[in-house]
């Protein structure tokens, strides 16, 4: 009997928590489908009286949301593709190549993890300005060309690959680059997927740096465009919710598809402590 009561409490609390987590997101979707003005009527409506896609249409036709979405997608894909190559190359060197001072250099690199990005942000902006890279894709991408966390994540995984596999190829005369490409990387696929998921989401969700670098209207990313939309259409709640749905949707879908890989990344990152 006591067991039964405990199950009720535990699962009741779990369900209540799930409702708290989901409610803001469900409300967002619901309002995005309401006819204009319905969410700002009193008392506030919970469900659309007549569901409509007009706000989504308006975002794409009048407000050119597709362009901002394309900017976000291109930047996230480029950041991920470049990061995959640079970080996995460095990770391979730290895990599988022998050279003087390797472990000291790696530890030194990890020290960089505690430096808040904001310290580098101001000089980096001035530097990019000198190079004429303000308001360009390249300017936004520059901080994600390589990542200490990415190198760390991939290196830890590569350490678990037995050296004997690589040595066999070395005896056959394969170059290190070839071994990296045709043996190490295929074996490291799971962690590469994890890194790619982190990188894509991080880039897509990033706000402060794109806000600073992309001053021009046409190159803005989705989150920056959404923040501007809030400034111009503060009371068009239904429109703003539709914009929020579109901003969230790609990362939420990506997470649902690759959840296992994403969680592995968090856990791999947390053993550091």
């Amino acid at each position: 009997m006591r067991r039964w009561g405990e199950a009720l409490v535990v699962n009741g609390l779990l369900a209540a928590g799930a409702l708290l987590c989901a409610a803001p997101l469900l409300w967002m979707v619901s309002v995005s489908l309401m006819p204009a003005g319905e969410a700002t009527a009193f008392p506030p409506a919970l469900w659309p009286s007549a569901p409509t896609l007009e706000h989504y249409r308006e975002l794409f036709t009048r407000l050119e949301l597709a362009r901002f979405a394309a900017n976000s997608a291109i930047l996230a894909l480029l950041a991920t593709a470049i990061g995959l190559v640079t970080n996995s190359l460095a990770a391979y060197a730290f895990a599988k190549l022998r050279f003087a001072g390797r472990d000291r250099l790696f530890r030194l690199l990890l020290v960089g993890l505690v430096v808040p990005g904001q310290v580098a942000m101001l000089p980096l902006f001035l530097f990019l300005k000198q190079l004429g890279l303000v308001n360009t894709y390249a300017g936004v991408l520059v901080p994600s060309l390589a990542s200490i966390f990415g190198i760390f994540l991939i290196r830890q995984y590569l350490l678990s690959i037995p050296d004997s596999l690589l040595d066999a190829a070395r005896l056959d005369g394969a170059s290190e680059l070839r071994i990296w490409a045709s043996i190490a990387m295929p074996l490291a696929r799971p962690i590469l997927v994890t890194f790619a998921t982190f990188s894509f989401m991080g880039s897509w969700n990033d706000f402060l740096w794109p806000l600073i670098v992309l001053s021009g209207e046409d190159r803005q990313t989705l989150p920056v465009a959404l923040a501007n939309l809030l400034g111009e259409h503060a009371m068009d709640v239904e429109l703003l919710m539709a914009g929020s749905v579109l901003t969230l949707l790609p990362v939420v879908l990506l997470f649902l598809a690759l959840q296992r890989h994403y969680v592995r990344g968090i856990l791999a990152g947390s053993v550091r402590g």
Partner: protein, 292 residues
């Protein structure tokens, strides 16, 4: 002389980190010692070395102290609340009688992956005094409408609630892994000794989670110091100065008023605080062994 193959592997990443991270960090310190402003932006000959003047100015500026207090408050209240919620959720998920764990874990984690700007837009309306869902729900309980984001005493707590909602799932996943790593025999031994459920939690679970908690708390702290998008989107630092954080102040000084020297000094202060917190967490007292 033969170049070591490792050099080629390291070159792309290290060059990028050197040019776009290490050098800018060093330059950031240098920048904080100058009066870099709009005039210097137009012509570098207007740039002057001012020593620690930017820091002296920060110490005299009530706006800085207010941002400092706000950030500290956000960290000191939001951090523990977030870690506590993570722990509570993890304990519930790992309870023997819990059902549909995979589903609940996914739902709890969902806010973590969402775009902060987008959920801040959503929460701004949830908090709306007349039309927001929150006041509507409270209204059915007989509570008079509250102006969450318009009241200087409530705006920061409102941002903290959003941050807890958004972040607790991340640490929850780490706690779940920690809980699953506790050997079952410890609980068996505790039960043999007649320990109640509460005593098992207090003397087995929590001590075994201590290393995890230390790490989680530090990362949460560092993350919370960087508060920016929530006040930027929801309150613009107001009402008054009540939600202006250090990073928001840095952004405004640097990119609205182009006082980049001042802004760099704020960045260095932020760095010093984060570094201090990291070092402090390393000198925690020797851990007592859990009695198995």
């Amino acid at each position: 002389m033969r170049i070591h193959p490792a050099a080629g592997f390291l070159a792309p990443a290290l060059a990028a980190l050197l040019c776009f991270f290490l050098l800018p960090v060093v330059a950031g310190f240098a920048l904080s010692l100058t009066d870099f402003d709009l005039y210097a932006l137009a012509d570098l000959r207007n740039l002057r070395f001012v020593g620690l003047e930017n820091y002296a100015q920060l110490l005299r500026d009530p706006g800085f102290w207010s941002a400092f207090r706000n950030t500290l408050g956000f960290v000191a209240v939001g951090g523990p609340l977030s870690v506590g919620a993570s722990l509570a959720a993890a304990l519930l998920l790992c309870a023997k009688s819990a059902r549909a764990q995979a589903f609940f874990r996914t739902v709890y984690f969902l806010p973590v992956v969402t775009t902060l700007v987008a959920v801040a837009v959503v929460w701004r309306f949830l908090y709306h005094p007349r039309l927001g869902l929150l006041n509507h729900a409270l209204g059915t309980l007989g509570v008079a409408p509250i102006d969450w984001l318009g009241d200087p005493a409530l705006a920061m707590p409102a941002l903290i609630a959003l941050a807890v909602w958004k972040n607790f799932g991340f640490n929850m996943v780490i706690f779940v892994a920690g809980l699953q790593g506790i050997p079952e025999r410890l609980y068996e031994a505790a039960r043999l000794d007649g320990a109640t459920r509460w005593q098992q939690l207090r003397f087995v679970t929590l001590p075994m989670l201590l290393p995890t908690t230390g790490f989680v708390a530090l990362m949460t702290l560092i993350g919370h110091f960087q508060l920016f998008a929530e006040p930027y989107v929801m309150t613009q630092g107001g009402p008054g100065d009540s939600t202006r954080s250090l990073v928001l102040l840095l952004y405004e000084q640097g990119f609205r008023w182009w006082s980049l020297g001042q802004a760099a000094a704020i960045a260095v202060v932020l760095f010093a605080i984060v570094l201090g917190a990291t070092l402090l967490s390393r000198v925690r007292p020797a851990r007592r062994e859990a009695h198995a």
